[in-house]
């Protein structure tokens, strides 16, 4: 069975690109527009990995990571955050909240896939 990855980003073009890339590699993808939307869509559903942006309305990426780590179903799943160069301090905040790693924007489809394959095995 295909593994499910959730992409969380308030940018529609990024969601589209991440989703297209991952589906092309055989993964199932669920899209969410911000942290709040992500939590309501996850809601206990089996998900193997979350790729989240940081700066989002309602509930940002750091907040989302913190919330997920409190839930037994998502305590240990890989969470990759998408950052920009100017968000260096956010990387540490994300790590502290429980992020597995990060990818710096801009990134290419191949880079994304390489990280996903490394993390999901």
């Amino acid at each position: 069975m295909a593994k499910t990855i959730m992409t969380v980003d308030d940018s529609a073009s990024i969601r589209q690109m991440v989703s297209f890339t991952l589906k092309g590699a055989g993964y199932d993808v669920v899209e969410a527009t911000d942290g709040r939307d992500a939590l309501s869509k996850l809601n206990g559903n089996p998900t193997h990995m979350v790729i989240t942006d940081l700066n989002m309305p309602h509930l940002d990426g750091i907040g989302l990571i913190g919330e997920l780590r409190k839930k037994p179903a998502y305590k240990f799943i890989p969470i990759i955050m998408l950052t920009t160069e100017s968000q260096d301090s956010k990387k540490q905040e994300g790590k502290a909240a429980g992020a597995t790693g990060w990818i710096v924007k801009p990134f290419k489809a191949e880079q994304l896939l390489a990280v996903v394959k490394k993390v999901l095995g």
Partner: protein, 122 residues
């Protein structure tokens, strides 16, 4: 395949610029509204981050400068003034112009804002 993403970004950026204008005009009436300031920052941040993803490097670099100013507004280091709002409205127009003149990835196709019925087969 990247072309679709480029056009998705272009469409998104026009929407964000519209949102930005609305927020800036509202900020003029309520200069201390932190939610508006956050929203303006986020619009800029998305235009920058997603622009860089899809090859709009000039837009990303230009928008980064404005985003940096609003980061300082967020931190209370710069206060909101009429001058700042006018400057940002001008910057927004500049970004729109940069979007307008950046060639589409597939110029033989109708841009997204054309009615599909007009040149649907070209």
């Amino acid at each position: 395949m990247m072309d679709n993403h480029t056009e998705a970004f272009r469409e998104e950026a026009y929407e964000l610029l519209g949102d930005l204008e609305t927020s800036l005009l509202a900020l003029e009436e309520a200069p201390d509204d932190m939610e508006l300031i956050q929203r303006i920052f986020r619009d800029m941040h998305t235009i920058k981050g997603s622009g860089a993803m899809f090859g709009f490097d000039d837009i990303a670099a230009f928008t980064h400068e404005i985003e940096t100013i609003y980061d300082k507004v967020r931190d209370g280091k710069i206060s909101v003034s009429k001058k700042l709002i006018n400057f940002t409205l001008q910057a927004k127009d500049q970004i729109r112009l940069m979007l307008d003149i950046t060639p589409t990835a597939r110029p033989h196709r109708s841009p997204y804002f054309s009615r599909p019925s007009r040149h649907s087969k070209n």
